[in-house]
Symmetry: C2
Subunit: 224 residues, 2 copies
DNA sequence: TTGTTATGATAGTACCGCTATTATATTTGC
DNA sequence: GCAAATATAATAGCGGTACTATCATAACAA
């Protein structure tokens, strides 16, 4: 799988950055360093000053890549959705049965990322952790409509649409495919967080991937 | 219903505040003003300085009630869960049938609050809007474990536990009652936000409360 | 009316978010 | 190999945020 993914770079909507971080060494250090810092200390405690110190650069240099730290978070989430969609496609491309396609899709949307892979400067395990705890901050704010118009959430919409399509093939009468998919994506993030920090809001059983099992079961029951 | 709720005050865990805002006029102005400002401009743009100006008081006075703005958000969310649980109990207390209890509970957890009620200084419609867009910020941060130990999330846990109990009565074998309930609570918030701002992540149909219908159907199908 | 408590007024500090300017590398084209 | 173009670094500064501290005054209760 590594060889399949390691020879191209994932596309992120250019409205998100001032200068594409993929095009320079500093850009890659910015992405790598920000993932380390946000994962370690949380997005709220993250500043460009701290990032500059971390990667031995300066605030002003970082500001040439991203307008502000919020745009950087948008970049990380967009990259993540593009990355996840490429995995999704790779995993269902040769599968005939639609139900099997759907099952695999649910697993990919809800599983915890446990192995780092193909992109040298991006640690996908840490990025997945960041998505779980911080991704809702990328759209739950007052500027969401402006950023949405600029295309900041196309990656998220795209993966939701792809899986919703599979549902429609299986059950053309089902009324809420998009709600169902975004519910399990957001739900999986929340449940992983709850299991770590607020366990009474969730249920967990040893030796099971409870989150993934729960949502897989849910989708099949709900679409009938 | 007004008369039922208007004669007592809702309990919020004292670890959240330095001084109980229910015990003074200034305290009530702080709560009322913060709801207005956060609803209008978002929690990220909210500061104690702006609140002080809004209610004709001072930063230092507000700091005597709350350690910081995050604690104030915790207060609002805790109050909301206590308020919602009191509504829940009121609405199912004389209902015999467990399935009917559950249906009513789902409606209460997922519906949009459309009428302001009993507590003079708290606008419940605006508070519901705040919960939809800001409540995840009350726990999705690095201090969640400390605050959890202090009891900051007992209200949320309590309402989840109450509804999970009903599910267990209906289907004692169901493995994931808490996951299911917290999924529909968070899901309903997200879907309401998506329908307003990122509609392609959701589905909506005129003259229906799509969010509520979707989750009501989901719960019944999932628990079998 | 006297003490107690609540609120207001003011000042100050460290950090954040961001802009601007100038200097120094590094890369690219000839 | 050198000049021009571009990228990065260094430094300064400004207005705002998130507090903390102190002192003055208002309200209220014994």
């Amino acid at each position: 799988m590594d060889s399949f993914f390691s020879h191209f770079t994932l596309k992120v909507n250019p409205s998100i950055y001032l200068k594409d971080p993929e095009t320079s060494k500093l850009g890659k250090r910015i992405i790598e360093g920000s993932i380390n810092l946000i994962d370690a200390f949380g997005f709220d405690n993250f500043t460009f000053k701290k990032l500059a110190d971390e990667i031995d650069s300066t605030e002003s240099s970082i500001y040439r890549y991203f307008e502000n730290k919020h745009k950087l978070l948008l970049y990380l989430t967009s990259w993540y959705w593009a990355w996840l969609e490429s995995h999704l496609l790779y995993n269902i491309i040769n599968v005939e049965d639609n139900k099997e396609q759907l099952k695999r899709a649910i697993r990919i949307l809800t599983k915890k990322v446990e192995e780092d892979g193909s992109f040298s400067h991006i640690n996908e395990i840490k990025l997945n952790q960041i998505i779980i705890t911080e991704s809702s901050k990328s759209y739950m704010h007052k500027d969401v409509d402006v950023e949405n118009k600029e295309g900041a959430f196309l990656g998220y919409k795209s993966i939701v649409a792809k899986v919703a399509e599979i549902i429609i093939v299986i059950n053309p009468k089902y009324k809420y495919p998009n709600m169902l998919i975004s519910t399990i994506i957001e739900g999986a993030h929340h449940q992983r967080f709850f299991q770590d920090h607020l366990p009474r809001l969730s249920n967990n059983y040893k030796d099971e991937d409870t989150v993934s099992d729960f949502y897989a079961e849910m989708v099949l029951k709900v679409i009938g």
